[in-house]
């Protein structure tokens, strides 16, 4: 399909919107209501362009221009909204660059948009990163001819603990309303009144926790703002670090905004393959721990009391403590959200000292990597014909997976890609899409996903799979029928069914997958469980699993909090003084995952990079550097001495390439994964105590505490 934009001819796939055509041609069109992952509505009228098309005679030939002999272009008498218009063969489009009419129309529209918008940019958290500000500067008149008072409304209207609404600033683009209806499928926000009195509000007593924070990202003005980051800094003052969230195994792309060494805000970053443009509320608002009560120096137990010390003193203390133990007795445990590089370093040290007590936590004791039909990706989920979720509470295990399932229910349309990125106005998306609940079966405990599922079956534990294979109820029969009858099917497995699952479970699943042609997506227990399991980070012959850390002769525990100490020397490496750290002999300060460089592996097997945000953490060190120090104390040469050597070793062990990964990550098929009994069950729990900001540190003493975070919002409520 050939389209002419401002005189430039370009070739575009059919179905492209006029606005995408302009962007594809390298031009620019201002817009507010359009959004890459929401339906086009054509409400803001900023994206006006002039368009004209050739017309055909009855015999199918083009009407020719007498003067030029070329097909004559019939121009629309008025400018058209390009976000809702499809580009057609031979269409001519004029943006403001080549059309005076368009430039005037856009400037006039900007004047209207600004009529009632307050000029409080200096106090607005959006200032400096505001679409309206930018577009007013680029396309506006620079002055208003509106001589009346602006509309006055509530400027401090909390929609929930996390989101604050400034009704004066709203420009009625309806992005937030459409977001809730189209993405998480919750009709909790809508316009009230009409005409010039329209405002947004909720009648539900607050927005549901789960995915509400995304509306602060997509608001083109400062009407909806992140209450946790309120007034923490101006947009140009933040250090923006693009990185990956490691709260769960989805691995959403995020941007971490830090100022003066404090993590102040997290916003979503687009990754079409993983999280599209959305992140969950835990990932967005649960960052308080990164800047609060951090351990910044090592602690050493002297006369029964933990005392601040230097790294040298700490190393000496470890060396002294290890004199009473064999190096092979030192158990090494790490959190399953650690990076691949850290895992490699720990495994190398375990090999070097010959310790059999190695483990990562949380994990399951079953490997489901070698399923028939290959591994399922998140895009597979979004475009599947049917999904069966077994024993998963997605709100706690992988919230974004829930959104991708809902995307499947509303048609599974992935936005097309252009050279300029994802489509700005995907004309296939419709407002208030009809969902097809019959495409989703949920087996397990009642969760938020239940209300969207056409087939629901209560079930408990890992016999759910067995029951599905040999259905004993009508619901399970329907679920099996859905699996068998549909073309592209995905089975999603969660903690309830994976805890305690063993080899026979894998065989059973494999049999079911073969029978139905389904792809399997098992949600790993930890953010990087999938990557760490590919390394040999499980108890070896005679080794103690993490569950039996109390039996270990001596232990090094990295960022895990079992609440007990080992029998002998206990070294804890953590970012905070946890209960376990309080029991330890030596406490080494750790960095959080926001301050690391490295690689994580998400539930699809996608390698995603972590970057280091500028947070102040004193002398805290990541696991690789810490293990170097521990090696020194143990008197062995550290096998891995830095990120580069960790990556080299990982590449050698796993046969992959690390470093310089593309932004959206790379899928890697792991050949093998190591399993061993865990001896405890994993209870997924996304929100934890430390993710809540402690109000005292945020609010000056002379202020009444804001009703910010009351009871821990675990899971979702709709």
């Amino acid at each position: 399909m050939k389209v002419h934009v401002d005189g430039v001819e370009l070739e575009l796939p059919a179905g492209t919107s006029a606005i995408d055509a302009v962007f594809e041609a390298g031009g620019d069109v201002p817009y507010f209501c359009a959004h890459k992952y929401l339906s086009p509505v054509g409400a803001c009228r900023m994206c006006l362009v002039e368009t004209g098309s050739p017309r055909k005679e009855k015999d199918g030939s083009f009407v020719l221009d007498d003067a030029t002999g070329q097909p004559k272009i019939f121009w629309f008498p008025k400018p058209m909204a390009s976000c809702t218009m499809q580009a057609t063969e031979g269409m001519h489009i004029k943006s403001a660059r080549s059309s005076e009419v368009v430039a005037k129309a856009q400037a006039g529209m900007m004047e209207f948009t600004l009529l009632n918008h307050p000029l409080d940019c200096p106090t607005c958290d959006k200032g400096g990163a505001c679409e309206l500000q930018d577009r007013a500067f680029e396309y506006g008149y620079g002055a208003s001819r509106f001589g009346f008072d602006r509309r006055h409304a509530d400027k401090h209207y909390p929609l929930s603990d996390f989101i604050i609404l400034d009704q004066e600033r709203c420009i009625h683009c309806k992005r937030c309303v459409r977001y809730f209806e189209e993405v998480p499928g919750q009709e909790v926000l809508d316009f009230i009144e009409r005409g010039g009195h329209t405002f947004i509000d909720t009648e539900e007593g607050g927005l549901p926790t789960g995915f509400q924070g995304n509306i602060a990202d997509i608001c083109p003005v400062g009407a909806l703002l992140d209450n946790v980051a309120r007034f923490r800094g101006r947009n140009w003052e933040y250090d923006h670090t693009p990185t990956t969230c490691t709260l769960c195994s989805v691995g959403c792309s995020i941007t971490v905004d830090a100022r003066n060494g404090r993590l102040e805000r997290i916003v979503a970053r687009e990754n079409r393959e993983v999280n599209e443009a959305w992140i969950c509320d835990a990932g967005r608002f649960g960052h308080a721990f990164a800047s609060e009560r951090r351990l910044t120096v090592p602690l050493v137990r002297v006369d029964g009391e933990l005392q601040e010390a230097s790294w040298d003193v700490a190393i000496a203390a470890i060396r002294a403590g290890m004199t009473r133990h064999n190096a092979t007795d030192l158990a090494l445990y790490l959190n399953a959200d650690s990076t691949l590089e850290e895992g490699v370093a720990l495994e190398a040290l375990a090999d070097a000292v010959g310790s059999p007590h190695v483990d990562h936590w949380p994990r399951y004791e079953v490997s489901l990597d070698a399923m028939p039909n290959g591994a399922a990706t998140l895009s597979d989920v979004a475009t599947a014909d049917a999904v069966v979720v077994i024993g998963a509470d997605l709100g706690e295990e992988a919230p974004i997976l829930e959104l991708r399932i809902l995307e499947m229910l509303r048609g599974g349309l992935l936005p097309p890609e252009y050279a300029h990125g994802t489509a700005i106005a995907d004309l296939r998306l419709v407002e208030r899409p009809a969902r097809k609940p019959e495409k989703l079966a949920v087996i397990g405990k009642e969760t938020r996903l239940w209300q969207h599922a056409g087939i629901r079956a209560s079930s408990n534990g890992h016999n759910a799979l067995e029951r599905l294979s040999r259905p004993d109820t009508a619901e399970l029969q329907a679920a099996l029928k859905l699996l068998t009858d549909s073309e592209k099917v995905i089975i999603i497995l969660g903690a309830d069914v994976l805890n305690g699952a063993s080899g026979s479970f894998a065989a059973q699943l494999s049999e079911l997958a073969t029978r139905t042609g389904a792809k399997v997506l098992a949600i790993p227990a930890g953010a990087n469980s999938k990557g760490l399991a590919a390394l040999n980070l499980v108890p070896r012959e005679g080794g103690l699993p993490f569950a039996r850390v109390a039996d270990a002769p001596a232990a090094f525990i990295s960022r895990l909090d079992p609440g007990v100490r080992a029998r002998g020397l206990t070294i804890v490496h953590d970012s905070h003084l946890t209960a376990t750290a309080r029991l330890a002999d030596v406490v080494l300060p750790a960095v959080t995952n926001y301050e690391k460089r490295g690689t994580t592996v998400n539930l699809e097997g996608r390698l995603l990079e972590l970057e280091q945000a500028a947070l102040s953490a004193g002398e805290a060190a990541d696991l690789i550097r810490t293990l170097t120090a521990v090696s020194e104390a143990l008197g062995v040469r550290a096998p891995v001495r830095g990120l580069k050597s960790a990556q080299a070793l990982a590449e050698q062990k796993l046969g992959l390439r690390l470093g310089e990964l593309p932004e959206r990550g790379v899928i890697h098929a792991f050949r093998s994964s190591h399993v061993a009994p865990t001896e405890q069950t994993h209870v997924p729990h996304l929100w934890t105590e430390r993710m809540q900001p402690s109000i005292q540190t945020l609010i000056p003493a002379n202020l009444q505490p804001l009703p910010m975070l009351g009871a821990a919002p675990v899971g979702g409520d709709d």
């Binding site: 919750q186 316009f191 509000d201 009648e203 009809a434």
Partner: protein, 208 residues
């Protein structure tokens, strides 16, 4: 207490008008709102929840839809809710003066109810009574047209005595009983529908 609990047949009747689908269920929203308002004079928050549950949506959506339309009330109105058309045709016939008169004599402002609980007033847009302006509507009962000062006084007097006069729905009759139109001069002119050559019904299989 729920409003629709003992009105299952009414609810079923309303739902029967629309398709048996989530979208069709949603269509019942406006009729249900109308039922509540007719019975209670306004729609409060509890009723929003109830209607939302019936229509398979949320109270936010119900409030959103309700606030869009101008004839639903969230606050109680007076026993007699006087709606005065203020659009241009009525305005040219004196509805602005009628409005001022009502506000003054009843001592009530829009959004308020008079102290005796009898009256509330609302300016409404064109009610389609332009040929018989000025006009007002009382509650949802019907139109009172050609409201001249003396007629207004009569209506108010009756309302004060709680004797609401029947609404008048004068019909501009321009065609006489024979089916001929009558000129302003009183002369009936032209043909009548009874004289028009009606086409014979077509029998199936016949030449059409």
């Amino acid at each position: 207490m729920t409003y629709f609990a003992d009105k299952q047949s009414l609810v079923a009747d309303i739902f029967s008008r629309y398709p048996d689908s989530p979208q069709g269920r949603r269509s019942a929203l406006m009729p249900l709102l109308r039922e509540v308002q007719d019975a209670e004079g306004f729609v409060n928050g509890t009723r929003l929840d109830e209607i939302a549950a019936l229509c398979g949506t949320t109270a936010t959506e119900v409030r959103s839809v309700m606030s869009f339309y101008s004839t639903y009330h969230t606050l109680p109105t007076g026993k007699y809710h006087l709606q005065v058309c203020s659009t241009v045709m009525c305005s040219l016939a004196g509805s602005d003066e009628l409005w001022d008169h009502l506000v003054e004599t009843l001592d009530v402002q829009p959004g308020e109810v008079s102290p005796d609980g009898r009256f509330s007033v609302q300016k409404v847009e064109c009610l389609g009574s332009c040929g018989t302006a000025p006009m007002m509507q009382i509650n949802d009962d019907g139109y009172y047209e050609n409201v001249t000062p003396s007629k207004c006084a009569r209506i108010l007097e009756s309302l004060h005595a709680d004797l609401q006069p029947l609404p008048d729905n004068p019909v501009p009759v321009t065609v006489n009983a024979e089916g001929r139109q009558v000129l302003a001069s009183g002369e009936a002119i032209g043909a009548s529908i009874t004289g028009l050559g009606q086409l014979p019904p077509i029998t199936p299989g016949g030449e059409a």
